[in-house]
C-alpha cells in the first residue's frame, strides 16, 4: 500500500456496470520527504482510486494497487487496480539520521 492525499473526485458520465456505487478519487501519492515533513504535499504521479470509505479532500489514505485492489469486490469482480483500503488517522514516520554520528550510540 502506498500513501496518497485525496485531491478530488472523478465523476463519470458513463461507466462499466461493475463501477456503479464506487466513487473514484483523484489521489496524489506521498513521497518520503513530504511524509516526514507533514507538509500536505504529495510528490508522486496522480492516480484514480476506487473508494467506499469517502475520505474528505486532503485526507491521507492507503492505496492498494494491483489485482488485490479488486479483492474488496469479491465474489464479484471489478475493473479496478487501485483501491482505498484505509483512511489514516495518525502516523509516525522517522527514518534514521542519514549522517553517521551519535545516532546509534549506546545501542
Amino acid at each position: 500500500m502506498r500513501l496518497g492525499i485525496v485531491r478530488g473526485q472523478v465523476v463519470l458520465s458513463l461507466a462499466a456496470p461493475a463501477l456503479v456505487g464506487t466513487t473514484l478519487l483523484l489521489v496524489e501519492p506521498v513521497n518520503a520527504e513530504n511524509l516526514e515533513a507533514r507538509n500536505s504535499n504529495g510528490g508522486g504521479r496522480s492516480l484514480v482510486v476506487a473508494d467506499h470509505l469517502s475520505p474528505g479532500e486532503g485526507a491521507l489514505i492507503g492505496i492498494v494497487e494491483g489485482a488485490e485492489a479488486a479483492n474488496a469486490y469479491y465474489p464479484g469482480t471489478a475493473p479496478v487496480d487501485a483501491y482505498c483500503a484505509l483512511v489514516v488517522r495518525d502516523y509516525e514516520f522517522r527514518p534514521p539520521t542519514t549522517k553517521s554520528g551519535p545516532g546509534t550510540e549506546g545501542h
Binding site: M1, R2, L3, P29, V30, N31, A32, L35, E36, G43, G44, H52, L53, P55, G62, V64, E65, G66, A67, E68, A69, N71, A72, Y73, Y74, P75, Y83, A85, L86, V87, V88, R89, D90, Y91, E92, F93, R94, P95, P96, T97, T98, G101, P102, G103, T104, E105, H107
Partner: protein
C-alpha cells in the same frame, strides 16, 4: 519479495472491515546498496518487526487473503525479519546500524539525537 526498513507506524479508524485488527507499519524499500527507493509503503505485520529493523516484504496478496479473508484489499505483508545479508566482497550497508540499534519496540520513542532535524 524485497527488503525494506521499518521507519514508522500508522493508525487508522476508517478502513476496510477485514483490516480491523491488523498492525500497520511504514516501510521503505531498500536497494542492494542500502539506499531507500520509491515512496513509503504501508505493510501488514504479525511478526513483530521493530523500528529500524530490516524486513522481508512479500507482494503476494494470497498471503493476506489466507490471513484476513478473501475480500481483504492488501498485498504487502512482512514475511520475515532479516538477520543478515551476505554479498561476496561487501557488506550490506544498512544492516550495521540496524543490528547496532537492535529491534526496538515501536512503542519506544527514539532518542532526540536519533531523529533527523532534532536540535
Amino acid at each position: 519479495m524485497f527488503l525494506a526498513r521499518i521507519d514508522g507506524q500508522l493508525t487508522s479508524t476508517r478502513k476496510h472491515t477485514t483490516l480491523a485488527a491488523v498492525r500497520f507499519l511504514l516501510a521503505q524499500r531498500l536497494e542492494a546498496d542500502g539506499r531507500t527507493s520509491g515512496e513509503p509503503l504501508v505493510v501488514l505485520d504479525r511478526l513483530g518487526a521493530g523500528w529500524g529493523s530490516t524486513v522481508l516484504v512479500s507482494t503476494d496478496g494470497n498471503l493476506a487473503r489466507e490471513w484476513l479473508g478473501k475480500t481483504v484489499p492488501a498485498r504487502l505483508v512482512v514475511v520475515g525479519l532479516v538477520d543478515s545479508v551476505y554479498m561476496p566482497g561487501r557488506r550490506h550497508p544498512v544492516l550495521k546500524p540496524v543490528l547496532a540499534a537492535g529491534n526496538r519496540p515501536l512503542t519506544q520513542a527514539l532518542k532526540p539525537s536519533q531523529v533527523r532535524g532534532a536540535a
